[in-house]
Amino acid sequence: MADNIIEINDDSFEKIVLKSDKPVMVDFWAPWCGPCKAIAPTIDALEKEFGDKMTFVKVNVDDNPISPSKYGVQAIPTLLFFKKGQIADQITGMVAKQKLEETIKNVLL
């Protein structure tokens, strides 16, 4: 639930995520999820660090049931990394910032 991250929805998912030229990180979150809110500042910081090379977006799973269900998301926070419309990596649950940085660098390779 990062504050500076663009909120997208089921309708805009294809255009913004799947058809993006840049790799995209999608943060699946919900307002009732404490860990989602707790990692938000970390996601914001990562966006500042990597925002020129990767697009960062978030999807509220309460309002948008289709995209989480399509990608089998059954736990949040889940971060899906897309490259040319395909899932390149996935992180579920709260993890260290260092692990997130390593994953992003790997996806950007």
Binding site: G34, A38, P41, T42, V73, Q74, A75, Q90, G93
Partner: protein, 307 residues
């Protein structure tokens, strides 16, 4: 007098670490708190807390940790996002190795907490695909579905009750024939019509293609095995200490929980432990906060006596 980067470094920003930070900041110590993920620790995965005094209506785990963090930061506590890789405690200037550098301190408080214990039956395959340790994160994905919960303590019982807000049925599997949870929680769960108990039993396996579809259960008394059709399996069978960075630098019990005396000092002078990571008979927010207050004052005295 030895020269170090900090007087005190606190490892972990759960209730214990944040409380130690509040005391150390008020004592005007030069203190740094290191947290690998996000401030809050295990209370972030607790949906509702009603045994921590001062909140008569109860409070969500996230809100309580956010309040503690704001309180600590407003007193001047510096929190850095970094994972501790190892400690070198052989000199007066204690060394902490993080990703990009080594930092030194006169004293250390280890408040790195604990993590949910796994069943060890290969459930990793289904992490994020039906297996969960966090009802408040994942419960709503199981609306009108059947789930299995494992355990018999406070967490298992309280979170199972929370799951019934969403799931149509919760099977609570427990290896004994009675619950260990607080009586008030037992009263609530025994009244809950959506919860069915499977006593004297353990989970031995899970099956499913895209996610969990069935949970295998074995009765320990009859050795009878059966598979329950369920889409989720929530595991609450205790915790393990977060101590991978310790490498035997301080003494622990056989499970890895850190041994400390009444002043929270570990086997190494100047190194203290507080909260769930400590060998202690009770692991609650209230006890973590109490440990941390003692540890912070002990650290302050230790540093004063160095000079």
């Amino acid at each position: 007098m030895i020269t170090t980067d900090y007087d005190l470094i606190i490892i972990g920003a759960g209730p214990a670490g944040l409380t130690a930070g509040i005391y150390a900041a008020r004592a005007r110590m030069n203190v740094l708190l290191l947290e690998k993920a996000a401030p809050g620790g295990q209370i972030l995965i607790t949906d509702w807390i009603e045994n921590y005094p001062g909140f008569p209506e109860g409070i969500s785990g996230y809100d309580l940790s956010e309040k503690m963090k704001i309180q600590a930061e407003s007193l001047g506590l510096k929190i850095e996002s970094a994972e501790v890789h190892s400690l070198n405690l052989s000199n007066d200037a204690k060394e902490i190795l993080i990703k990009d550098r080594t930092i030194t301190a006169k004293s250390i408080i280890i408040a790195s907490g604990a993590s949910p214990r796994k069943l060890g039956i290969g459930e990793e395959k289904f992490f994020g695909k039906g297996v969960s340790f966090c009802a408040t994160c994942d419960g709503p994905f199981f609306r009108d579905k059947t789930v299995v919960a494992v355990g018999g303590g406070d967490t298992a019982v309280q979170e199972s009750i929370f799951l019934t807000k969403f799931a149509k049925k919760v099977y609570l599997v427990h290896r004994r024939d009675e619950l260990r949870a607080a009586k008030i929680l037992q009263e609530r769960v025994l009244k809950n019509e959506k919860v069915e108990f499977i006593w004297d039993s353990v989970v031995t396996g899970m099956e499913g293609f895209f996610g969990v579809e069935g949970v295998k259960i074995k009765n320990l008394k009859t050795n009878e095995e059966k598979t329950i059709k369920a889409n989720g399996c929530f595991i609450w069978v205790g915790i393990l200490p977060n101590t991978s960075f310790l490498n035997d630098s301080v003494k622990t019990d056989q499970f890895g929980f850190i041994l400390a005396d009444a002043r929270m000092q570990t086997s190494v002078p100047g190194v203290f432990a507080a909260g769930d990571v400590r060998d202690t008979p009770l692991r609650q927010i209230a006890t973590a906060v109490g440990d941390a207050a003692v540890a912070a004052v002990s650290a302050e005295h230790y540093i004063e006596n160095l000079s």
